[in-house]
């Protein structure tokens, strides 16, 4: 084996640390929307991955539009694409809630089946609209490449971008759900529907907007992921299991739990991948999760409830 200078090793160490953090921000961004929909509302949304894909395709659509009609706007379009992704996925979520989720709040396991059907329909819609091939939006120059704090350290800019975006969205979600009056209504509704209705909260409206918000965040996640991965009709299926894992492992009701869970899963996987070759890193990570969940079925950070 070649000899390495200590500065090289430090650089690798730093970059490895960042790739763990980068995976963490990806997992967290994926899980945030679901933490609201599944954690707060109890809806097992198997189409969550497809809502991310909606965000990704929206970004692609915006990129194509900008490239064709407003090429000089290319450096800035991405920010608008993210907003559009949120709006489009949110509206779609709003409609889906209206069309059938609202009839199923009392049957959570049935939401799983219905949303699975929905995910099939959405996948085929993507295929019909955008074709079966993977697409990739042209990214603005400033999102490409890497930041070099020293000669040997390369920090991917898209990774930092996702990290930053995740931070903003997480803080935003926190304030919305736990500090704002609206969040109070959401939490009241999910904890006691009848009582919330009685004290004058329009629970139907709260449900619909909460679901739309969760889907909107999924859309943002999808838009952000166009910078690191691909977009195809079945992209969503790649994410869905990981997403559920993060939310469940963290303890479904807890935002902090979701963050901690994303962090521990990401670091475990990232470090294992560095030392173990092949797919086994994934197997070990998932296996550890299942073991822990068997001992702590309520998830890592669910608070003890007096029963």
């Amino acid at each position: 084996m070649d000899a390495y200078t200590s500065s090289e090793l430090i650089s690798i160490f730093a970059m490895q640390g960042f790739s763990g953090i980068s995976l963490f921000s990806v997992l967290l961004l994926m899980a945030l929307g679901l933490a609201i929909i599944f954690g707060q509302m109890g809806v097992i949304n198997m189409a969550h991955g497809e809502f991310m894909t909606v965000g990704a395709y929206t970004t692609y659509f915006m990129a194509t539009l900008t490239e064709t009609y407003l090429p000089s706007f290319m450096p800035y379009y991405f920010v608008f694409a993210i907003i559009m992704a949120f709006i489009v996925a949110g509206i779609l979520g709003y409609l889906v809630e209206f069309a059938f989720i609202r009839h199923l709040y009392k049957r959570p396991l049935d939401t799983l089946l219905a949303t699975w059907g929905l995910s099939l329909i959405m996948q085929q819609s993507f295929r019909s609209l955008f074709g079966a091939r993977e697409v990739s939006p042209t990214l603005p120059e400033w999102l490409l490449g890497s930041y070099q704090p020293t000669e040997t350290i390369y920090i991917p800019i898209n990774g930092m971008f996702v990290l930053g975006l995740t931070t903003v969205i997480t803080i935003g979600t926190y304030y919305l759900m736990f500090k704002s009056r609206w969040g109070l209504r959401v939490r009241a509704t999910t904890q006691n529907r009848a009582m919330s209705g009685a004290v004058g909260i329009n629970t139907k409206k709260v449900d619909r907007y909460t679901f739309a918000l969760g889907c909107g965040i999924a859309g943002i996640a999808g838009a952000a992921f166009t910078t690191i991965a691909s977009t195809g009709p079945t992209t969503g299926t790649l994410y869905i299991v990981d997403t559920f894992m993060v939310v469940v492992f963290g303890g479904a009701m807890s935002l902090f739990g979701t963050i901690a869970s994303a962090f521990s899963i990401a670091q475990t996987q990232s470090i294992l991948e560095f030392f173990i070759s092949g797919s086994m890193a994934k197997v070990y990570t998932l296996f550890a999760l299942v073991l822990i969940l068997m001992f702590k079925p309520e998830g890592l950070f669910a608070s003890k409830v007096r029963r």
Partner: protein
């Protein structure tokens, strides 16, 4: 079991404490229940009444202390072992199997063939049916054996759950609010029922309805913030100044 001194009690709870994230729902509780005694626990909301029942039947794990039933320690036993040793418990809201008939509800509660394979090979023979009819008669549901339990009135559901305990012939029966949601007439019938079933076993009841308590209780304990405020017969407790303060002060 004769090594112990307090052999006379059906139930002996000593220094029992449970805390949820630092909040002590039951705090250093000492409580004794005699054979053939019908004891009612009263107290304001959040006093820890239901938690005490949960602790006895193993639903909640105690932080410290001891619960002895017929001189056997219950803490550490699993729920089904506690039930099999002779402790029956009715829940606050009637907890019956709505999709099964009254007969099937009682049959499921019949204390035989409780293992997996026993239940697969269980046969509904004459002994079983006789016992079911006997209990159904006692809880005034003999005419409704083939009715789906979900169709019963609220009061009848309460009786059915009591019947499901009775069929197991427990030494200690714990009833959490047995007359909640009942009509006046049903309350009277329930009082008679409880007086009848307390013969030959100990009964622990949680109840809010003071008239009902007065009509059944041999002894009353007032629980407040996880501690015993007063204990004794109904008159004594009702006139206790601390009790009056707790009830009126709120």
């Amino acid at each position: 079991m004769n090594m112990q001194t307090n052999t006379d009690f059906t139930l002996a709870i000593e220094e029992l404490t449970v805390s949820f994230d630092g909040f002590k729902a039951v705090d250093d509780l000492n409580f004794y229940l005699d054979k053939n005694e019908l004891h009612v626990i009263i107290g304001p909301n959040g006093a820890g009444k239901t938690t005490v029942l949960d602790l006895i039947c193993g639903k909640t794990k105690a932080t410290s202390g001891s619960i002895k039933f017929l001189n056997n320690e219950l803490i550490g036993l699993s729920e089904h072992a506690i039930v099999r040793s002779g402790v029956g418990r009715k829940f606050q809201t009637p907890s019956i199997y709505e999709n099964l008939t009254v007969l099937e509800n009682l049959e499921v509660s019949y204390p035989h063939s409780r293992g997996v394979f026993g239940s697969l090979l269980f046969k509904r023979n004459k002994t079983v049916l006789d016992k079911i009819h006997e209990i159904a008669h006692e809880i005034m549901l003999e005419q409704m054996l083939d009715t789906e339990a979900g169709l019963l009135s609220h009061g009848q559901k309460q009786w059915l759950e009591i019947g499901m305990l009775l069929i197991q012939d427990p030494q200690l029966m714990m009833l959490d609010e047995p007359v909640a949601g009942m009509s006046v007439k049903e309350r009277e019938q329930t009082a008679i029922l409880l007086n009848k079933i307390s013969k030959g076993r100990s009964v622990l009841v949680i109840e809010h309805d003071m008239d009902f308590v007065a009509s059944i209780a041999h002894k009353v304990t007032v629980l407040h913030q996880g501690k015993i405020l007063a204990t004794g017969n109904m008159d004594k407790v009702q006139n206790d100044p601390k009790v009056i303060e707790v009830y009126l002060g709120h």
